[in-house]
Symmetry: C2
Subunit: 186 residues, 2 copies
């Protein structure tokens, strides 16, 4: 049982769904491909944390619907008391920022603009998730309270990322306007 397995279990603890369903739901918070998810679900079914049945569909492929078992719920609750590992971030932008002095300013700007566009896309997606949570359910005591704070986690991070991009772009472009004498490495 790795973190992704617990994550899948967590989504299925809310409502039953197919592998495809949970894949789409988990994507914004944990990047994982279907080829990793399907075997983990099958394995959890073998360990009796999940049960499944098939829904036959016409005009669409059949669906395998998973539901969490009592044993699965117990496992999840236990997991909530296990130590929280530090988050892992692998961002090529950090590595590229460190050697931006080797490239030209236009390229540096383009790199940061690319990342800014990414954060814009993400903020749009998080904001549309927010809209689906009614305001009266965004308080402690509702199950949706935790959906709300999770989406806000994404918004806080993406906003900070976007702020950083704008801050950097401001400095890079300001320089462009004043036509510096510094020659880029080539």
């Amino acid at each position: 049982m790795n973190t992704l397995s617990y994550g899948l279990l967590a989504f299925l603890a809310r409502e039953p769904g197919s592998g495809y369903d949970v894949m789409l739901k988990i994507q914004p918070f944990w990047q994982a491909k279907h080829s990793q998810i399907y075997p983990l679900l099958a394995q959890m079914e073998e360990n009796e944390l999940l049960t499944s049945y098939w829904i036959k569909q016409s005009e669409k492929p059949d669906k395998k619907i998973y539901s969490i078992t009592d044993s699965g719920i117990r496992k999840l609750k236990e997991w909530m008391y296990m130590p929280l590992p530090d988050p892992i971030t692998r961002d090529e932008l950090s590595m590229k920022t460190f050697c931006m002095w080797m490239t030209d300013r236009d390229n540096a700007i383009e790199i940061v603009e690319t990342r800014k566009a990414y954060f814009t896309r993400r903020l749009e997606s998080f904001n549309s998730m927010l809209q689906k949570i009614p305001e009266e359910k965004r308080t402690f005591g509702n199950r949706e309270f935790y959906d709300y704070i999770l989406v806000q986690k994404g918004i806080f991070n993406a906003t900070a990322g976007q702020d950083w991009c704008n801050w950097v772009l401001g400095m890079l472009k300001e320089q462009q306007a004043t036509e510096s004498q510094v020659q880029p490495a080539q």
Copy 2:
């Protein structure tokens, strides 16, 4: 050549150093163990992107110092024009937040406090890096400008993370105060 390899090259493009040295420098921005780094450096040396020599030390183990070659510099510059992949974040806290409704409030608070402490540690480390960059070198045209914005990237993110923790803790503890009658101010 994966991203980590390019990252190691990037650090060695600034100044020569041992595997151990680059490991320590890269850690705050890309988590990687020595067991992954040493083989990559050896591989890059075989591909003539790096050269190395041994320094014999008394009272400490000998050091293998790597330096970047012209071919290595060319490779890095090419890399700067390759498309920037989206960042990857794997944070168990996101998964646990999603099923906090299954556990007790005290446990939820402890989880978020743990993460807050992590961000505090990180901010301390980034701030001490900042202090090592003289203010007059924090402008475009200096090589240190990019060190500066990279450290700021970490600071922006850690600050956002800490803000989120405080925001969540405020809501969780507010609830605690109104539910039980007597709560000591802390």
